[in-house]
């Protein structure tokens, strides 16, 4: 994976296209907690080789759109905006992708509390055997961060 400064994002990907990487693969966001990383993959159809490129966004969480270089990137840039709260500068299409509105926190940020994970009963919240339930210790599900569940006594555990 090649790491490039965010200021070179468009020129680096345009250089990939000039080097024969004619197919767009995908763009993914990664919440590294201290920053957002953006990864793109492009493929050269002649020899099926793949180039992976990554950039770390500054605190303004902005990246320039590459949709004018690779048209297919537009969909993934909408995803970046919606799920990671990334500002895609120069994106032609900023309609929400899966969410019906753009209200609420970006879904894939680790800091976002996922309402469904709190409200849906967790199938793992029971002990093996019905009669063992009385003295069980409450467990927290995978994907539910500390502090999301507050029981009546006000403690998380």
């Amino acid at each position: 994976m090649r790491r490039v400064p965010v200021s070179d994002w468009v020129t680096e990907l345009a250089a990939c296209q000039a080097a024969g990487f004619d197919c767009f693969g995908m763009i993914a966001g990664v919440d590294r907690v201290e920053s957002i990383e953006v990864i793109a993959s492009v493929v050269r159809s002649s020899d099926a080789s793949c180039e992976l490129m990554s950039t770390t966004l500054d605190a303004d969480r902005t990246v320039a759109s590459i949709a004018h270089v690779y048209t297919g990137a537009a969909w993934y840039e909408r995803e970046l905006a919606e799920m990671f709260g990334v500002l895609v500068a120069g994106a032609g299409d900023d309609r929400p992708l899966l969410r019906r509105t753009d209200e609420g926190a970006p879904t894939l940020l680790k800091s976002t509390i996922l309402g469904a994970r709190v409200l849906t009963p967790w199938p793992g919240d029971a002990d093996a055997g019905d009669d063992a339930k009385a003295n069980r210790r409450r467990q927290r599900a995978v994907g539910v961060a500390e502090g999301w569940l507050v029981d009546e006594s006000g403690s998380d555990d």
Partner: protein
């Protein structure tokens, strides 16, 4: 016409061997999409010569919702008793939401005869 053959090691579905399952809940808790559910009860068995009866778990219900399952295989990997295994059967379709929730009766048929 080209014959399309599903490789025998394809990861198409997950089968359950209820005889091997101890209702330990590990798969239920590790499944990232919460699509496994089980119910069990405890039962005391007194073995001849034993000083105290031993408590065994009896599996009552076990369901996997293949409409939500993302085929990550974590449940197959974490089961300490090899009670879950990949099956290469073609996954069925359904006409309504919830139609891909399959219980023990169906899951046992998908458990491969020789284990995973």
């Amino acid at each position: 016409m080209t014959e399309r053959v599903i490789p025998p090691n394809a990861h198409s579905l997950i089968g359950l061997n209820p005889e091997a399952c101890t209702s330990c809940m590990i798969c239920v808790r590790e499944c990232p999409v919460w699509c496994i559910d089980l119910a069990s009860h405890t039962h005391e068995v007194t073995e001849e010569g034993a000083r105290r009866p031993k408590v065994v778990h009896v599996l009552d219900e076990f369901t996997i919702d293949f409409g939500a399952c993302m085929y990550c295989g974590i449940c197959v990997d974490v089961c300490p008793f090899d009670a879950l295994a990949w099956s290469s059967e073609i996954d069925p379709s359904a006409h309504a939401a919830g139609g891909l929730v399959h219980g023990i009766d169906q899951l046992v048929k998908w458990f491969p005869a020789s284990g995973s």
